[in-house]
């Protein structure tokens, strides 16, 4: 029997943009939530945002989950795949499958990289049956961070607190490729003292799109400007998101505007809110 089926068809409310409360959706929950996971930290977190990876480890360890980091890991291959360079993407994806072959859940702080493995590896390997099977096996074990927290660990309230105003951007691949929306929302809502500002058009793309941001910079920037106007309109001091590509994009745009709004990953928010050291409970 597979460990657990993914909850990829979670309904979310794309109109009112209201946060919906999540319910754990794990049939095996209560029997034996996993106590050990492999971390797929993603290339972007590894080299640009290592603090996000540290926060993931901190949060999981506080919940009694041991984290293993397969050392050879680099990238899932998405940048080349999205750019149309499928043979280059396949080479890197095969390497990824080799590194994450094995048992037990894999956790990643990225909806986009999880979507690459779960939704797009089958496309990439559609005419290579052996790789396809391996891809499906790894894909079944791979969870985005907030999805793992709620659906696998049954955590919807970590009991943390932070006195801060935040807005939450719903990253596209997390929202629409994985259908993971209620999970991050419930985790954010559970934090005491947090002033959550509703973000207009929170479901609309920030214009990142990987190579798109470089290939069509003017279109990408026009989309980013709309997003940042909406973010600044909330008056929130911190913007929270679930994917570091989007974070890099929005933070880079805010910095160019001279704004002091910080952009952080959901894992960082949860880490600070649940830190034993109360002095760290700020952003």
């Amino acid at each position: 029997m597979p460990l657990i089926g993914h909850v990829i068809a979670q309904r979310y409310d794309s109109d009112t943009l209201s946060y919906m409360s999540a319910t754990p959706n794990n049939p095996s929950l209560g029997v034996s939530p996993p106590t050990r996971v492999s971390l797929f930290v993603t290339c972007l977190v590894d080299q640009f945002y290592p603090q996000v990876g540290e926060s993931v480890v901190n949060v999981l360890e506080r919940l009694g989950v041991d984290v293993d980091f397969p050392e050879g890991q680099t990238c899932c291959g998405q940048p080349a795949f999205n750019s149309g360079y499928r043979s280059d993407a396949r080479a890197v994806a095969k390497r990824f499958l080799g590194i994450f072959d094995g048992d037990g859940p894999i956790v990643t702080p990225s909806g986009s990289c999880a979507a690459m493995v779960r939704n797009f590896y089958p496309e990439l390997f559609h005419d290579e049956p052996a790789e396809l099977e391996r891809a499906n096996r790894v894909g079944e074990r791979l969870y985005e961070f907030s999805e793992f927290m709620v659906d696998m660990l049954g955590q919807t309230d970590l009991g943390g607190s932070i006195d801060e105003s935040v807005a939450y951007h719903r990253c596209c691949h997390l929202l629409r490729e994985l259908g993971v929306d209620a999970q991050p929302s419930s985790l954010i809502q559970s934090i005491r003292g947090l002033d959550i500002r509703p973000l207009e058009r929170s479901e609309v793309c920030c214009g990142f799109g990987g190579a798109f941001a470089v290939k069509m910079p003017d279109v990408s920037t026009a989309m980013l400007d709309e997003k940042l106007d909406n973010v600044l309109n909330t008056g929130a001091k911190t913007l929270v998101a679930g994917d570091t590509g989007c974070i890099m994009h929005m933070a880079g745009g805010l910095r160019r505007r001279g704004s002091n709004v910080q952009v952080i990953h959901l894992a960082e928010l949860l880490d600070r809110a649940t830190s034993a050291n109360t002095a760290e409970r700020s952003i």
Binding site: D15, P50, E54, E177, V214, G252
Partner: protein, 480 residues
């Protein structure tokens, strides 16, 4: 119509600095986009009906030859004539020969995207036949000499002021301001055309195979007028527009109209079963159905792109698309804008010249979420990207630059070893650090220069996650 897909970047750039166009596009979100969501929420079993719509389209496209023959047989049974056109030239020739042989002087048209593919207005003009669009939006862009900006709202980019000017020029100078007056002015102009027209050309929203009916969905009533007043009616349809039965039509209409305008039903849904029967008092003497292929067979033959034929032209994907809402309809350079246009346009008119179109997307998935028949548009955009670089069966249609191939080979080399991955990041940091302020770059060399034109770019971190994790583990081992 000649594709202008090479111009994507140029037209997009112009659109994004045009405040009037941006204002018009901004309205799409609060109008059509929210309207669709509200209509879907108010509809029982909406998701189930989308599934059903998808199943109907999939089944029909997989048995397209059968249903097209059934349709043709039934249209002919009612006294209509059917012509299968392999391409737009054949379709145009049929329509023009018909018009000339029947001494047609004036044609009225009701909205038809396939007639835009055909460039039919232009062909009529060349043959000395007056052709007047009767859908108000189409009429406005015909007066402006432009192409549709949106599938269901072709003149959405025109301000009231511009419409005033266009109608006034037609009326010989009398300029109206209020929307009601403008509508009356257009109505008077169109009424004249309706009265003198010998022939009408309409589109087809759906054609029902089992009954031989063609179905038109309109809000202005011009479609019904066009199909009943003139003595000849010619309906043009892309060959994917057939549905098996009237029962299927019910599902398709429900999801089409809600997805297009947010209405539960449009003001008019017209079903036509051929020309006037002997016992009937009105209707056209002749009915012709022109079924156009024009490259659709290529889509049908390609399992990776066949799904594009499921499209029912509701426009929901472009309303949802944040790229369309910035670059507008004309950037896509042919008949079909937005995400579905970014797929069918290069596939039908040439991938080499349309190579920018599949890349004009962040793959955010909003189009797939909006699509009433659940077409997986991001998957097909990715498929076309793969065809652009290396996958197209015809090598002359591929177009990856040498520089780009080198970049990706280098990336692959770097990502294929943890050591090289770390080394690459350390080297990048060392090179970029002197150019940075507070850990961020304001300017950068290519290929990142596109990014830093408007956004700061972060330096790689001073230490990778792997290094941090290793230290953390050894510290912990030391404690034990």
């Amino acid at each position: 119509m000649k594709p202008q897909t090479k111009e994507f970047r140029r037209v997009a750039a112009k659109t994004m600095v045009d405040p009037r166009l941006q204002k018009a596009l901004e309205g799409v979100y609060n109008g059509f986009y929210k309207g669709r969501i509200a209509a879907a929420e108010a509809t029982d079993r909406w998701e189930e009906q989308r599934e059903q719509g998808r199943a109907i389209k999939e089944h029909t496209i997989n048995h397209l030859d059968y249903y097209l023959e059934l349709l043709a047989d039934n249209v002919e049974k009612h006294g209509g004539r059917v012509f299968f056109a392999a391409d737009v030239d054949a379709a145009n020739k049929y329509v023009i020969d018909l018009a000339l042989s029947r001494s047609v002087k004036t044609v009225i048209k009701s909205k038809s995207m396939v007639s835009e593919e055909m460039g039919l207005n232009h062909v009529f003009e060349q043959n000395g036949i007056e052709s007047v669009e009767t859908d108000l939006g189409e009429y406005i862009i015909q007066l402006a000499g432009e192409t549709p900006y949106h599938l269901i709202a072709p003149a959405i980019h025109k301000s009231r002021d511009q419409v005033s000017d266009l109608l006034a020029a037609k009326a010989g100078g009398e300029r109206k301001e209020r929307a009601e007056d403008l509508t009356m002015q257009a109505r008077a102009q169109l009424r004249e055309a309706f009265q003198k027209a010998d022939m009408s050309v309409t589109g087809v929203n759906f054609a029902v195979a089992e009954s031989g009916s063609i179905v038109l969905v309109t809000n202005e009533g011009n479609g019904r007028m066009a199909t009943s007043a003139p003595r000849i009616h010619v309906a043009c349809m892309g060959m994917e527009k057939v549905v098996p039965s009237v029962q299927d039509l019910g599902t398709m209409l429900r999801i089409l109209i809600r997805s297009a305008t947010g209405q539960r039903i449009s003001s008019y849904v017209t079903m036509i079963n051929g020309p006037r029967a002997p016992e009937e008092e009105d209707g056209p003497e002749e009915f012709h159905l022109v079924i156009v292929d024009n490259g659709r067979s290529k889509l049908l033959a390609d399992p990776a792109l066949r799904e594009a034929l499921n499209c029912i032209r509701c426009g929901a994907c472009m309303n949802a698309c944040p790229v369309y809402r910035k670059v507008g309809g004309h950037s896509y350079g042919w008949v079909y804008p937005g995400p579905i246009g970014a797929i069918v346009t290069p596939a039908l008119t040439g991938l080499k010249q349309g190579k920018d179109l599949p890349y004009a997307s962040t793959l955010c998935g909003a189009c797939r979420e909006a699509c009433p028949v659940k077409i997986d548009l991001p998957r097909m955009l990715l498929e076309l990207r793969g065809q652009v670089t290396e996958g197209h069966p015809d090598p002359t249609q591929r177009s990856s630059s040498f520089a780009e191939r080198i970049v990706w080979k280098a990336w692959r080399f770097g990502m294929s070893s943890r050591g090289r991955f770390d080394l690459g990041a350390r080297a990048a940091r060392a090179v970029l650090k002197p150019l940075s302020v507070g850990g961020w770059l304001r300017r950068s060399p290519p290929p990142v220069s596109g990014w830093t034109s408007s956004r700061d770019f972060p330096l790689p971190a001073s230490e990778s996650f792997r290094a941090k994790f290793k230290r953390r583990q050894s510290k912990r081992a030391g404690k034990k």
